[in-house]
């Protein structure tokens, strides 16, 4: 009897409310997928239908056939992967320096990296547009890699400094005693140990680049068209093909969600560390 009451109490105060939150969190995706597999004429006929009478993959076929979504995916991949490699490559040594050395300008530089992450996109967008025009980088992959580094560099520095801080200094000292230079101690010992944290940071950078829209729509047009811009372009002037649009949306979110699940634990540890101690 007592066990049964306990079970119902937990059901009402824990499982049901949580299921409601989950329904809210996942509902839009469920609806998106249902929309993508519903034939367009069925929707015109019936309005809202919770499950299609004749589920179809025609939207996905059109997405990869006529619309050429694959080339958008390729553009997105090139931009995101380059942003990730450039961003991490530039910042990994900086994060190590912040974590391991105490030097005169340390405080100022650290504050600088924290603060620039918070500038509004619109502040940098206009000047970057002019720079891209003057240098002839407009509508190329490079311009997005440059634009995205305005937020990926400060983010990566800050995240990876935290991950390096979690590695005991004795490891550096032992490496130096064993005859490493300070630089090779970093390169051969500390960076390999920090690899999970670096990977999580890198994947987060990849995801933010993959999802970015405002810079992309302003700085690229014909030659480079990333997925978010392509999706927005599918919104027609008078009729929106919701089935196609939702198919594209689900397909574009999939890689990001998969990547995210691999690193979520590590990433959350890094992001919440500062806040909890504060």
């Amino acid at each position: 009897m007592k066990g049964e009451r306990r079970f119902f109490r937990r059901l009402l105060t824990l499982h049901l409310p949580l299921l409601l939150v989950l329904a809210f969190a996942l509902g839009p995706y469920v609806w998106s997928i249902l929309t993508a597999i519903t034939p367009e004429n069925e929707r015109d006929l019936k309005g809202v239908s919770y499950f299609p009478d004749h589920p179809t993959l025609v939207n996905f076929q059109r997405l990869f056939g006529a619309i050429n979504f694959l080339s958008n995916m390729r553009d997105s991949f090139i931009v995101s992967a380059s942003t990730m490699i450039v961003g991490i490559g530039i910042t990994v040594t900086a994060a190590y320096a912040f974590s391991r050395f105490r030097f005169r300008l340390r405080g100022v530089l650290l504050v600088q990296f924290l603060a620039i992450n918070m500038f509004p996109v619109v502040l940098l967008l206009i000047p970057l547009f002019m720079i891209a025009r003057v240098t002839g980088l407009m509508d190329r992959y490079a311009v997005l890699v440059i634009a995205y580094s305005t937020f990926t560099i400060p983010f990566s520095v800050w995240m990876m400094t935290g991950f390096f801080n979690a590695i005991p200094r004795e490891l550096d000292e032992a490496a130096v005693i064993d005859g490493c230079t300070r630089f090779s101690a970093m390169w051969r010992v500390i960076i390999p140990v920090a690899r999970p944290g670096i990977a999580a940071t890198a994947i987060y950078v990849f995801i933010t680049a993959w999802n970015e829209f405002l810079y992309a729509v302003m700085l690229t047009s014909r030659h480079v068209r990333t997925i978010p811009v392509a999706l927005q372009n599918m919104i027609g002037e008078y009729k929106i093909e919701w089935g196609l649009l939702n198919a594209g949306g689900v397909v574009s979110a999939l890689p990001v969600l998969v990547l995210f699940f691999f690193v979520q634990r590590q990433l959350i540890r890094g992001m919440t560390a500062g806040a909890v101690k504060g």
């Binding site: 969190a25 405080g107 502040l123 630089f183 909890v276």
Partner: protein, 296 residues
């Protein structure tokens, strides 16, 4: 550890130089440019009329009714979204902090909205709000809250609120995870002590949990204010500011000036103004983070 002094003195600067040089070039040079554009008459397709007008743009801004509408909407937007995200995030965190079998799964699934691209968030919600075949309308009619379909995004009274719900969806997992980390850092002994003193669940929440959570909540709120204040892509895709100016926020106004009107002078003026208005919040956050001494 004592290694030759001279080398350790320059090594950190060498290690930092790529990141510092890169930020100088892609962030600081553009900021100086933006500041100077904000003092110029600068419309991209009118090259002849380009020139310094000093504070004329700022003066024009103060007498621009759209600026004031956007400012007001921005405040409603920031306060509304942050409160919505905070409440739902706090509730979710309290649930996730309990022990149960599918906790890991639930925590992972809750995060999905947070990694969803803004464009997709905006499209999904725009579709769900649709006035002809939107699922939200259908559900509300079925439950009896609405008599007939209502065009949430096409009505000036409801559009901003409707978009705020979409941003709440995208952002609440962040609060949930931050608060959850804070909850897990509260020592269990405190609850045990409260129980010994005869405290019920309500008392435990208000006397133990909430006070100890304040620093985490504070940091999370500051971060969210900055993020929500700057986020404009969802509004841009859902309504482009309409109907009328009912969903114009300051960043959106600035973006539309630059993107649609190619008015880089006035667009920069608005952007610089946003930056100055947000500077206080940013300074507050930076000071807090430095004081916590985590990275320092």
């Amino acid at each position: 550890m004592r290694i030759s002094r001279a080398r350790t003195d320059i090594l950190p600067y060498v290690l930092l130089s790529p990141a510092v040089v890169a930020t100088l070039l892609v962030v600081f040079v553009p900021i100086v440019q933006a500041a100077s554009y904000s003092l110029m008459s600068f419309i991209l397709w009118k090259p002849r009329a380009r020139g310094f007008v000093f504070l004329a743009n700022y003066r024009a801004m103060l007498s621009d009714p759209v600026f004031w509408i956007s400012l007001k909407n921005s405040l409603v937007w920031i306060v509304g979204v942050v409160i919505l995200q905070l409440l739902l995030g706090l509730g979710t965190a309290l649930l996730l902090n309990r022990e149960f079998a599918w906790r890991g799964l639930a925590r992972a699934l809750i995060l999905i909205p947070w990694v969803t691209p803004s464009v997709l968030t905006a499209l999904m919600w725009r579709w769900m709000y649709d006035g002809n075949a939107g699922v939200i309308n259908d559900l509300l009619v079925r439950v009896g809250i609405l008599k007939e379909y209502f065009p949430f995004l096409a009505n000036g009274k409801t559009a901003l609120g409707a978009i705020m719900v979409a941003l709440m969806w995208q952002g609440f997992p962040f609060f949930a995870i931050m608060i959850l980390a804070g909850l897990q850092a509260i020592p269990l002994e405190l609850y045990e002590a409260a129980e010994v003193d005869g405290a019920g669940p309500g008392r435990k929440f208000f006397r133990v949990t909430l006070p100890l959570l304040v620093p985490v909540l504070f940091t999370a709120i500051l971060l969210r204010i900055i993020w929500v204040a700057n986020s404009l892509d969802i509004i841009f895709i859902m309504t482009e500011g309409g109907p009328g100016y009912s969903t114009y926020t300051l960043p959106l106004y600035s973006y539309l000036k630059a993107y649609r009107g190619m008015d880089f002078g006035y667009g920069s003026t608005l952007a610089v103004t946003i930056t100055i208005l947000l500077a206080a919040v940013v300074a507050f956050y930076v000071a807090r983070t430095l004081k916590s001494g985590d990275q320092l």
